[in-house]
């Protein structure tokens, strides 16, 4: 009987965890509506409109937004530097958001196993919006569309980089914001 209770409790908790993935809201309650097909995937899935609030947070923190994909070799190579900077700076009001541009067919087969295998600690979200010509210039006027690309911003300053980073370079750019 006791086991049954724990089993039920376990499934109850699981179902709660699952709910978390639908509308993603932060403490200020306005962050991002995910698009419908998100319920089977470990990460929130946004179209550009849904992602936009994450690019304009005004909570005083500094945000590092990295655009990447599992199939992008230079992106994968620089991920450890973002993880390292996040580990070092998270108590210093720095957030890292890894925006995956993996294609829908890769979410289950590649993205989920990749994130699990690498044990990524930074927040991972998916941007699924084929209207790239519309949203790319809204992220940065000079972005041609190549990845890796990274946006660093806080309420005072905003910089965009269509390039890969070394750990030293990333740290140096971040320090201009702190």
């Amino acid at each position: 009987m006791r086991h049954l209770f724990f089993c039920l409790l376990f499934f109850f908790v699981l179902s709660c965890v699952d709910k978390r993935k639908e509308p993603v809201a932060s403490s200020n309650g306005e962050v991002g509506q995910t698009v419908a097909k998100s319920h089977e995937i470990d990460f929130p899935i946004y179209d550009f409109e849904g992602l936009t609030p994450l690019l304009h947070q005004t909570d005083g923190k500094t945000y590092i937004i990295n655009f990447w994909a599992t199939w992008c070799k230079p992106c994968v190579e620089e991920l450890p530097y973002f993880e390292k900077v996040y580990a070092e700076q998270k108590d210093n009001d720095v957030e890292v958001i890894l925006v995956s541009l993996d294609m829908p067919s890769m979410w289950k087969s590649r993205l989920e196993p990749f994130v699990a295998e690498k044990g990524l600690k930074s927040r991972v979200v998916i941007l699924d919006d084929p209207k790239q010509n519309e949203w790319i210039p809204k992220i940065d006027e000079n972005w041609g569309g190549g990845i890796p690309a990274t946006l660093i911003y806080n309420t005072k300053k905003r910089s965009f980089f269509e390039q890969g980073f070394t750990y030293e370079e990333l740290k140096k750019e971040l320090h201009k914001f702190l």
């Binding site: 655009f67 070799k73 209207k131 790239q132 210039p137 990845i147 890796p148």
Partner: protein
């Protein structure tokens, strides 16, 4: 402050403003802009022959497409590139596909692998290798796939469109705007190309 420093300051300010204005029209920092004349090249095709734009005496223009074997976006567009060639080669605007990647960095994009991929997909157009990665920087290609539509004019091959093939890489059936087809159609009709540059996510060129 001497007259000389004032003068220098003035010139610096002028240069700064000129720089600021030219920046706004220049999407790619290096390489071609709309209206520039593209240089010809001589690159090795998968059949071993050398290919130049000058070889196509009857062409009215060219769809120069930087693409490769390994980038998922490039792969997603392969069938549409074949379709572009089928539609526009008879109208005098053939596709010339150029692989700009350095196989030392991306072994899947070697010359040998290019032959394999072209065979598998039945490419109907030249698929040439930018050996030494010298042509793509002249064009200012930054990613694959990256299209440059050239119009053959008396001055040379003029760049008239730069960007993506269409507005939906995921699903050809959901495409709303066929950027390249619209541009080629307008060029052939001698009317104004409405959308001259577009952007898309692609794989950065590996050098």
């Amino acid at each position: 402050m001497t007259m000389k420093t004032l003068k220098t300051l003035g010139i610096l300010t002028l240069v700064f403003f000129l720089g600021a204005f030219s920046k706004t029209v220049n999407l790619t920092d290096a390489g071609y802009d709309i209206g520039d004349i593209a240089a010809d090249f001589s690159l090795k095709n998968i059949d071993g022959t050398m290919v130049s734009l000058a070889d196509f005496g009857n062409a009215k223009g060219f769809l120069v497409i930087f693409t490769c074997n390994t980038c998922p976006y490039a792969v997603a567009y392969e069938d549409r590139i074949i379709a572009l060639d089928a539609k526009y080669k008879p109208l005098g605007v053939p596709v010339i596909a150029i692989n700009p990647n350095n196989p030392a960095v991306k072994p899947g994009d070697s010359y040998a692998e290019m032959k394999v991929r072209a065979q598998e997909k039945g490419f109907t157009f030249p698929y040439v290798f930018d050996e030494g990665q010298t042509v793509y920087p002249q064009y200012g290609a930054t990613r694959t796939p990256h299209v440059f539509l050239l119009e053959k004019t008396d001055e040379g091959n003029k760049v008239v469109y730069i960007g993506a093939i269409d507005d939906n890489y995921q699903d050809a059936a959901l495409v709303e705007e066929k950027y390249v087809e619209n541009a080629v159609d307008a060029m052939l009709a001698e009317s104004e190309i409405e959308v001259k540059t577009t952007r898309a996510i692609g794989c950065s060129i590996k050098v």
